[in-house]
């Protein structure tokens, strides 16, 4: 009986260690995903930082700079579709401003992403100042379309 008890304890401890290991591995992945999302949004902000001054007329139209900003954002955001695992929800170990609605309204979240993709293609296809300025508002609005529903307000 005493031996039995000891074995049970070893098994339990082993399970616990394995469990913690698995948990840590998962947390690492979730952390990476959340950090990648945030880096993508940072690149997105940098892209806006190139485009908005042109839209506002504070800087001259510069097609090369716009294209480079879009390309950099595309690289930073390439893994987007893989970064929304259940373990990356708000309330986990890594702080995120993502809202629960991303997981409860997957279709809505995807539609918002598609709207962004479409608007982004529109800007990419613009060839001169006039077509860029005409294409940009849809891109900006698509950012808002996602942020309004799927991003928590940040103080």
């Amino acid at each position: 009986m005493i031996l039995g008890n000891a074995i049970w304890k070893i098994v339990a401890a082993g399970t616990l260690v394995l469990g913690i290991g698995a948990g840590a591995a998962l947390a690492e992945t979730a952390e990476e995903a959340i950090k990648a999302r945030q880096a993508c949004m940072k690149a997105n902000g940098a892209m806006m930082g190139v485009m908005v001054p042109i839209i506002k007329g504070e800087k001259p139209y510069d097609k090369a700079a716009i294209d480079a900003a879009i390309a950099a954002e595309g690289t930073a955001c390439a893994g987007w579709a893989n970064w929304w695992g259940e373990d990356t929800k708000p309330g986990g170990a890594v702080e995120t401003w993502a809202k629960e609605e991303i997981w409860t309204d997957k279709a809505g979240f995807e539609a918002a992403g598609m709207a962004y993709g479409k608007a982004s293609e529109g800007v990419k296809a613009s060839t001169d100042e006039a077509s860029f300025k005409a294409a940009f508002p849809a891109l900006g609005e698509s950012c808002g379309g996602c942020h309004e529903k799927f991003r928590r307000p940040k103080g």
């Binding site: 806006m48 839209i55 506002k56 950012c143 808002g144 942020h147 991003r151 307000p153």
Partner: protein
């Protein structure tokens, strides 16, 4: 018994009377402007069962979740049966500036009468006149899903002693005319303080912390402080704040779209540019 009687009296509605309603010829253009500044539409949107109704009309019924329960904001269109068609001016002003329904019940302060109370009564009458020009929609009022609603409403009567300041907005003669316009729009119709000013233990706005931000009323995330927007590098200057409110994410201002602010921004974008610049000037001055 005496205690109950006192509570009963203290929690009774204290409405305005006809003498408080000024003689006024309505200005519809001003009414539309203040309707947008007040953001009426955002909460009074048509409910899910009104699919064929113009989604821009404040026909009411869209669920509004609050910490005390779910409300269905009423119909603001001039339908005589289910909307404001048969309301008198006095009833409208009492609703908007005192939070009292025509039946004499207290509205819960998710309806920001606590800010609207500061408005010029003439402006409220102009909103009323503008609402009367909208297409009438039949949208019957739905009772709130609030446990013990009667007690809650009566409790609001007590709360109003501390939570409802009935003083009108006053201009600051030391400031510019445009600053004062911005101050009026922000503190009266715009009701910005309802979310951007934290509340004290009695759930009244803590005015010593005016616009310092706080927990989000829907319980998710935080409402940003409006103090020091320039000093903290959030915006370049007053004009930049105005641009953010005028264009939002269309110009890449990504801070004005979460937590319901996207709706607010869309309402403000409908104001004349001079008013939006005035709001920017006032907000930039909050330190």
């Amino acid at each position: 018994m005496l205690g109950l009687a006192v509570l009963w009296l203290l929690s009774a509605p204290r409405p305005l009377s006809l003498a408080d309603i000024p003689a006024h010829t309505p200005d519809l253009a001003n009414g539309e402007k203040l309707y947008n500044a007040s953001g009426c539409r955002s909460c009074h949107l048509p409910g899910p069962d009104l699919k064929d109704v113009n989604a821009e009309l404040p026909a009411g019924g869209k669920p509004l979740k609050t910490p005390v329960g779910t409300f269905y904001p009423p119909n603001l269109t001039p339908d005589p049966e289910t909307g404001l068609g048969n309301w008198t001016d006095l009833e409208f002003v009492n609703a908007v500036q005192r939070g009292i329904s025509p039946e004499g019940a207290h509205y819960i302060p998710a309806f920001p009468f606590t800010s609207y109370a500061a408005m010029r009564t003439e402006d409220v009458l102009d909103i009323r006149a503008y609402l009367a020009t909208l297409a009438p929609v039949s949208s019957p009022e739905r009772a709130a899903d609030v446990p013990l609603a009667f007690i809650v409403r009566r409790g609001i009567g007590l709360w109003k002693w501390i939570g409802l300041d009935t003083a009108k907005w006053q201009p600051d003669p030391a400031q510019s005319e445009t600053w004062n316009r911005g101050s009026y729009l922000v503190n009266g119709p715009g009701h910005c303080a309802e979310c951007h000013t934290p509340r004290n233990i009695a759930m009244a706005r803590n005015n010593s912390q005016a616009f310092a931000g706080g927990p989000h009323p829907e319980g998710d995330g935080r409402v940003p402080s409006l103090r020091g927007l320039i000093e903290r590098g959030r915006y370049k200057d007053a004009k930049d704040i105005a641009s953010a409110l005028q264009f939002g994410e269309m110009l890449g201002y990504d801070k004005v779209s979460s937590g319901g602010m996207g709706q607010v921004q869309k309402n403000i974008s409908k104001l004349p540019e001079a008013d939006i610049l005035a709001i920017g000037e006032y907000l930039a001055s909050l330190k």
